[in-house]
């Protein structure tokens, strides 16, 4: 096959099927665009986090980081005096609620003289020309803002900002802007002593950034430091926060990208059915080319090239669409797609050309692969027979489908046993792919079986429809396959999301046991309830009981996601609410019992009954894993500890949240008002009743999955578009048949009904096979993908009404699509249609 022939034949091929090819290109483009947009948004978010982390850490080689509550500043001189250290810069890093508007502001307390040696941006560009740290920088009332913070707050140098703290509101004068920290995100830089004193962190540090002397190996230094650091303080590579963000969000990002790629997979079947039908229509043309001397391999190449060119066009359009969409979304609503991982992040548009290239290539490969089967069948064309016949059917695999499907199903089952790879359920994804492929392979035998058992019908129009479906088993199989893929995915996602929602609902009912919840501040970590404030609340009339809660972030190991420690009163009722196993607290011993969530057990490889050491308040505390509990609010490790034990260990009696049980639930509003009056100094106090938290949690869940629903809708739309397009092409090829039927006395309406019945039969077969395949895939999503990605355990719940509605909708859409697509073909004059030899 030489280039001239290729050009000649492809030109004709594309010219003759403009509308259908455009639709196919659009479907591929949609798949590529979705995957590209999702990836670009996440890549932009991660790039921003990394840029911010690097901008703030400057030339640091090592960062020493402690728990949320910080660590003793006595560690600083020990580090700074080490001979490997050139400069060490202590940092207090906290998130303070804004006093006069919602939201928080990151406050970085630094020692300006040391910080400047690591990151010159901390002193560069002050608004004052004769700026000196000794006079301005060390002034506890001054703050320097990054340009991003200045823009968000809408403030000007010289103005004052107010932040919430345990010690009362902190007023800071904006002494200047730090333009060199432009990439550092939203932050205010203050003198470290001011940060410690004004935000109640005296004697505590959050971090020490270290610059090593030339020639010192950073990894060896970190290892050497491990024995010196107190429990819960770890040394890691700089900007490890970006790595952690990448790691924590990886499963979510990959899952969303995988879902977007499923739309591409649906597009593959559209390409297959479009080009298969086209190949069927062009059977005589292919036979002629073979008769004129084109080899079988040449013909295969020609067909694969057609698919690849469709893929290239789709990939180009899709990549551009994806870039445009992600840019628009980023400008309008940021990089977060509903799950909240990147909420509030003002990221710069940063597409990843390699990843976009890979997604585009997948689009091309999907299109070319869709043609592979057709090319194979076309290369084996019986030339002499094809030159005589005017067959319309799509070539189909005659044998081996059931065996291959069984092998793929078995392989998928084995893949389910594969443990997660870098936290990703690779085995689960591959199993889903295998089972999808198996269900597609089963389509042809299932269609043949269904056709054999199709009952005789008396209605002549229905009988004609049945005869037509029987006459074109290949077309039926190709159309059904397209529906099976999208229906499987929709069913699987519907079952998984429903199971998740029902499980979450039940869990929320269990964990939200109090009538009213009070938070010291909606966001941030600088405001807490003191013991005295807790007492004031408990003494209010109408309040039966107040349960305090405190949280800490425990650094377990370098590079690992921190473990959240939730300290709260624990009894059998609360443990049952958390669906803990066992739900009874163990008999009191000298050991401290903790309950680990599924993520902690998975990530730390802990088992119930294990005795482990955790770093709490700078001490190594031996605890026993008394049981597991379910925690849908965290995808990483968390531990439940009784509040009394926590207070005993830490001596910290403050609380972040209060769960308030009322004597009379109807008095919630009055009690809320009384609380605000009793705590006048807590301007950031946030109160919410249990029902509202329950409702809001479900709303967040629905918002998180809104993008999932959108991606599913696109997959279904692509499949329906493909089916309609395929029926339209078939209807056009059957103009003569329609003309003949008109000659025989059938009305246009009867022919349309016949086509609607054909479409409905196709939709029903596809929906039923998709239902079975989707149900199996949903089990993989629930028990493998969700478990390995997010460490969420849940029970399977079947959304029967939604599934029935999906089947009905698919059948109706296919019937309507088939009938609608034939209207153009039926517009032809019946006599002309019969004579038409095209």
């Amino acid at each position: 096959m030489n280039a001239s022939v290729l050009r000649l034949v492809l030109r004709g091929s594309f010219a003759g099927n403009k509308a259908r090819l455009a639709l196919t290109v659009l479907c591929i483009a949609l798949g590529v665009a979705l995957a590209g947009a999702v990836h670009t948004l996440h890549a932009s978010a991660l790039a921003e986090i990394e840029r911010a982390a690097r901008a703030l850490s400057g030339k640091a080689d090592v960062e020493i980081r402690g728990p949320r509550s910080g660590f003793d500043e006595a560690l600083y001189p020990l580090i700074a005096k080490r001979e490997e250290v050139l400069v060490a810069s202590p940092v207090v890093d906290l998130e303070a609620p804004l006093a006069n508007s919602p939201g928080t502001l990151r406050v970085l307390g630094v020692d300006p003289f040391r910080a400047a040696r690591l990151q010159a941006g901390y002193v560069a560009g002050s608004s004052s020309a004769n700026f000196t740290w000794s006079t301005e920088g060390l002034d506890a009332s001054n703050a320097w803002l990054t340009p991003a913070a200045l823009a968000r707050l809408g403030a000007q140098p010289g103005q004052t900002i107010a932040l919430r703290s345990d010690a009362g509101d902190v007023h800071l004068r904006i002494a200047g802007v730090l333009p060199s920290l432009d990439a550092g995100g939203d932050a205010a830089v203050v003198d470290i002593a001011a940060a410690q004193e004004r935000f109640g962190r005296v004697g505590r540090l959050s971090r020490i950034d270290v610059r090593l002397r030339p020639g010192v190996d950073a990894a060896a230094f970190r290892t050497a430091l491990a024995s010196v650091l107190p429990p819960g303080v770890v040394a890691s590579a700089p900007a490890s926060i970006a790595t952690r963000a990448e790691s924590i969000t990886r499963a979510y990002r990959v899952n969303l990208t995988a879902l977007a790629l499923m739309a591409l997979l649906t597009g593959l079947f559209l390409v297959y059915s479009t080009l298969a039908l086209q190949a069927a229509r062009r059977r005589q043309e292919h036979a002629l080319l073979r008769a004129l001397g084109v080899t079988g391999r040449g013909l295969s190449f020609l067909i694969v090239m057609e698919g690849a060119l469709v893929g290239v066009a789709g990939a180009i359009v899709g990549t551009l669409l994806g870039l445009a969409a992600s840019r628009a979304i980023l400008r309008r609503s940021g990089t977060d797609l509903g799950a909240g991982y990147f909420r509030g992040l003002d990221a710069t548009f940063a597409p990843d050309p390699w990843a976009l290239g890979a997604i585009a290539l997948l689009g091309v490969a999907a299109a070319a692969a869709g043609c592979g089967v057709i090319a194979r069948a076309a290369s084996r064309l019986d030339v002499a027979a094809a030159l005589r016949d005017r067959a319309l059917d799509v070539p189909q695999q005659r044998s081996g489908g059931v065996i291959a499907a069984a092998c793929l199903a078995a392989l998928g089952a084995v893949l389910l046993l594969v443990p997660p790879v870098t936290g990703l359920p690779v085995g689960g994804y591959l199993a889903i792919t295998c089972w999808l492929a198996a269900s597609v392979l089963l389509v042809a035998p299932a269609c043949r079986g269904a056709l054999q058992h199709l009952a005789r019908v008396r209605d002549p129009v229905a009988a004609l429809a049945v005869a037509q479906v029987r006459h074109l088993p290949g077309h039926l199989s190709a159309s059904v396959a397209g529906i099976v893929v999208s229906a499987s995915l929709c069913v699987a996602m519907a079952v998984m999301v429903h199971s998740f929602r029902v499980s979450l609902d039940a869990w929320l009912q269990g964990v939200i046991g109090a009538d009213l919840y009070a938070r010291a501040a909606e966001e941030g970590d600088t405001v807490r309830f003191s013991l005295e404030q807790q007492g004031r609340v408990a003494a209010l009339p109408g309040i039966a009981r107040v349960d305090a809660r405190q949280y800490d972030r425990l650094a377990i190991a370098e590079g690992a996601a921190p473990l959240t420690l939730v300290a709260r009163p624990l009894d059998a009722t609360i443990l049952r609410g958390f669906q803990a196993e066992p739900a009874e607290p163990p008999p009191a011993t000298s050991e401290v019992p903790v309950w680990a969530n599924d993520a902690a057990l998975d990530l730390q490889a802990w088992r119930i009954g294990d005795r482990v050491t955790i770093p709490v308040a700078g001490r190594s505390i031996a605890v026993v894993i008394a049981g597991r509990y379910r925690d849908y609010s965290r995808t990483w490790g968390a531990l439940l500890m009784d509040l009394a034990a926590y207070r005993r260990i830490t001596g910290d009696s403050s609380a972040s949240d209060l769960a308030i049980h009322l004597r009379d639930r109807s008095q919630a509003t009055a009690v809320s008002a009384a609380m605000r009056a009793a705590l006048p100094e807590m301007g950031s106090l946030a109160l919410e009743d249990g029902t509202s938290i329950h409702r809001r949690s479900l709303e967040i869940f629905d918002r998180t999955f809104a993008v999932t629903y959108a991606l599913e809708a696109v997959a279904i739309a692509i499949a329906l578009g493909g089916i309609t397009s395929s029926f339209a092409a078939l209807a056009w090829s059957r103009r003569r048949e329609f003309g003949l039927l008109r000659h025989l006395g059938l009305t246009r309406r009867e022919i349309l009904r016949m086509l609607a019945l054909e479409g409905a039969a196709t939709g029903l077969l596809g929906a039923l096979i998709g239902l079975a395949s989707g149900a199996a895939i949903s089990l993989v999503l629930v028990h493998v993908v969700n478990r390995q990605s997010f460490h969420w355990g849940m029970e399977v719940h079947w959304p029967l009404a939604a599934l029935a509605a999906l089947v009905l909708a698919l059948v109706a859409a296919c019937a309507a699509g088939a009938s609608w697509s034939a209207r153009a073909a039926l517009r032809d004059d019946a006599v002309r249609a019969v004579r038409d030899d095209a």
């Binding site: 005589q284 002629l288 008769a291």
Partner: protein
């Protein structure tokens, strides 16, 4: 030019024909006639390398057809065979001249040379003025004359015509047969015309009848 030796073909246990042997000289047009189902088209397909015989061999210009190798047969057909079909089989999306040029394109003839040869072929069948038209706008007779031009444009040694007048009325059939005959003479190819029409057979230099599994002169 064409020499067929002891060809045999059967479908399952039922023999279609056996011991078929004949030759066609350069520039000679031979008609192959016979009842429907006698195996005329199958014999034509074997001569074109589209089907395999059960026994026997086919030689063109002294070279045996490589029946065992599908790719080699395709390349052989590309270089040495011209086809005329009952249903014309012109590609609807190509113009008349592009359709005629197709065998030249397949054989890698440079574009500069192609135009002249296409024009000459179209002129010889009287279709040069329709070079820019699409097949859908041609009458049956015109389409078949274009198909004849396509069959001879690359100078094949064997020209096979399968019921070329089957879809045409008498006047057009006569014109097409005349064109076919003159093209065979002009090109010096061995021509084989499969037909069940006595009128078409009469246009040939010689008539062979396939009947009762054997080939005989009519």
């Amino acid at each position: 030019m064409l020499e067929v030796r002891d060809l045999a073909k059967s479908f399952g246990a039922a023999p279609l024909f056996e011991a078929v042997a004949f030759g066609v000289a350069p520039g000679e047009l031979v008609a192959l006639v016979g009842e429907s189902g006698s195996g005329k088209s199958t014999l034509l397909n074997i001569l074109a390398g589209l089907e395999r015989p059960d026994a026997g061999s086919v030689h063109l210009a002294g070279q045996a057809l490589p029946f065992g190798n599908d790719e080699a047969l395709a390349l052989w057909r590309r270089a040495h065979v011209g086809f005329v079909f009952q249903a014309f089989h012109l590609l609807p999306y190509l113009t008349v001249s592009e359709n005629v040029a197709l065998p030249l394109v397949l054989n890698g003839v440079p574009s500069g040379e192609r135009a002249g040869r296409v024009l000459a072929a179209l002129q010889s069948v009287g279709m040069a003025r329709h070079a820019g038209r699409k097949p859908g706008t041609l009458s049956g007779g015109e389409a078949q004359r274009v198909a004849i031009a396509r069959s001879v444009v690359h100078g094949p040694r064997l020209l096979l015509a399968d019921e070329p007048t089957g879809n045409l009325d008498e006047a057009n059939a006569a014109q097409v047969l005349d064109t076919l005959r003159s093209e065979v003479k002009r090109s010096g190819a061995a021509g084989l015309l499969v037909t069940h029409s006595p009128v078409a057979a009469a246009a040939a230099d010689r008539v062979l009848r396939l009947s009762g599994r054997h080939l005989a002169a009519a």
